[in-house]
Amino acid sequence: MITEIKEYMSVNFLISQAKNIQIVIDENAAEIEALDQNIGDGDHIFNVQRGLKLVVELEKDIKDLPLQKSLNMIAMKVLSGIGGSSGALFGTFFMSMAKTPDLDKSVDFSKACEMIITGINAMKERGKADVGEKTMMDVLIPVSEKLNELKSGNKDMKKGLSEIIKIAEDRMLATKDMLATKGRASFLGERAKGHIDPGARSSQLIIDTICKSVINQ
């Protein structure tokens, strides 16, 4: 049932997703910035935008390279070009994806899921954050768990991705009533309640964009 095998995680796929995400993030930048100013210090949106710009600009350097090498170059670019928590976390994400064995043979849906799951686990480890702490991990960890169910390929992939879109949205909204225990918002205690976490919002938008694009392929 799985066709167009390479398309699930090719260099082209990564670049076109980065471009799609860039458009969506730019459209929602004011909202994310406002969320961050409520509970953080306002740098998150600039970091995400800077990172996306850097990845999109990498196109000419990586478009003809093997996947593993491209992922490593993306990781280093993100790690050295963004800064803040986002840079460290997304850099870690790409770096660990690049460590997946046999990347340059073929990446089917199952392996693509595995790569993302590995990447999210590495972010969890780096940030020492779990669900319920009002961070982007509130969105990413449940998404990773759902991908783990889907990766066997026995389920309807499009239906599964629609479910992921819903999970990401629900979990993003759920950060509103949480107390923060990680990141700048954690210093606020009760005052962080009532605001959606900006990292959860940007992550949800990223997940939403990728899933919709794969569903419509």
Partner: protein, 330 residues
């Protein structure tokens, strides 16, 4: 936004360029990756101290690179943690073989990026984390307390020990002691404006202050109506003393730090109020520091740091220092 800017994207680079030119006798600015090092090489056997963090807190940390203080500083974008390649490059540049001590303020982004930098650096290294801000409770619901102005004191005091041959372990131990012996409380009257954002980080009324503000304009304990300096200073000191619990007649260093937009005239007035209040409580002030050292761009406001001093701390505080922002004894 009214700032001296040519192009927002070049803001940091141009500022670092100017810093390098203005202090070319003491430091050298390196680009891609960005770090500030001493002009001269680290002497053989001396532990190297490297700090860093988001820009916008100048003179911290680049202004503290020089004899008796830091060996290198890694500036991130305004209010954003620097990246691991900066720490790696700085460590490779300054380490003379005696090891590197990273001095990191307690923010998630700084901790993660410094950790990755430390992992990427193959030489001997260790880290200390500063968390002197008493404004936020150290409870299970927080990452812990924020690292703020006492970081300046840690860098000066540990810098002196490193200059005088202290080992990596000894430097770390002293840094942790200074951090533990310090408490800081900050107040803001106005917001700051991050250049990339172009507008104030938070809204605050003309007659309001943020009590317990962080050094990035993060909210603190509460929003209040502005009061007399004596009342504000008294509330700040109460928060610090509650936390530090100094003994009667214990020697202390009193540090009044400006957030960037408050004139020295006012900082000295704050110092006067703080002296009176501490005196009435029987706390002895043996050393002082007043000025803009750990700032938040153009924010109006101040923080007070109290450091409990023993002989080791005093000796290292008094030792000669020659940096862009702090100089005495040489």
């Amino acid at each position: 936004m009214k700032k001296f800017i040519n192009n927002v994207d070049d803001f940091l680079k141009e500022s670092l360029n100017g810093f390098g030119k203005a202090h070319s006798d003491i430091i050298k600015v390196h680009f891609d990756p960005n770090f500030v090092s001493r002009k001269s090489k680290t002497k053989e056997g001396k532990v190297s101290l490297i700090s860093g963090g988001g820009s916008g807190h100048e003179p911290m940390h680049g202004g503290f690179v020089g004899h008796g203080m830091l060996d290198a500083a890694c500036p991130g974008f305004v209010f954003s943690a620097p990246t691991p390649d900066q720490m790696q490059a700085a460590a490779e540049h300054v380490d003379s073989g005696a090891g590197v001590l990273f001095i990191v303020k307690n923010y998630s982004g700084d901790i993660m990026n410094f950790q990755m930098g430390a992992e990427m650096y193959s030489g001997k290294n260790d880290s200390i984390i500063t968390n002197d801000d008493v404004a936020v409770e150290d409870s299970t619901f927080t990452t812990g307390r924020r690292g703020v102005a006492a970081t300046v004191l840690v860098e000066k005091i540990v810098g002196s020990l490193a200059e005088n041959g202290g080992s990596l372990e000894e430097c770390k131990k002293l840094g942790e002691k200074v951090n533990k012996n310090s408490g800081t409380m900050g107040v803001a009257f106005t917001s700051c404006t991050v250049p990339a954002a172009g507008k104030p980080t938070f809204d605050i009324g003309n007659d309001e202050m943020e009590f317990g503000v962080g050094i990035h304009g993060e909210p603190g304990r509460k929003r209040e109506k502005i009061q007399s300096s004596k009342t504000i200073v008294n509330n700040m000191l109460e928060a610090i003393l509650d936390d530090l619990k100094p003994q009667k007649n214990e020697k202390t260093l009193l540090f009044v730090n400006g957030m960037g937009g408050t004139p020295l005239t006012e900082l000295y007035l704050v110092y006067d109020d703080a002296c009176e209040i501490l005196k009435s409580k029987g706390i002895e002030i043996t050393r002082s520091l007043v000025g803009n050292y750990c700032t938040s761009l153009e924010m109006q406001g101040a923080s007070i740091t109290l450091l409990k001093c023993d002989e080791e701390i005093l000796k290292n505080w008094d030792a000669p220092v020659h940096t862009a922002a702090m100089r005495w004894g040489m």
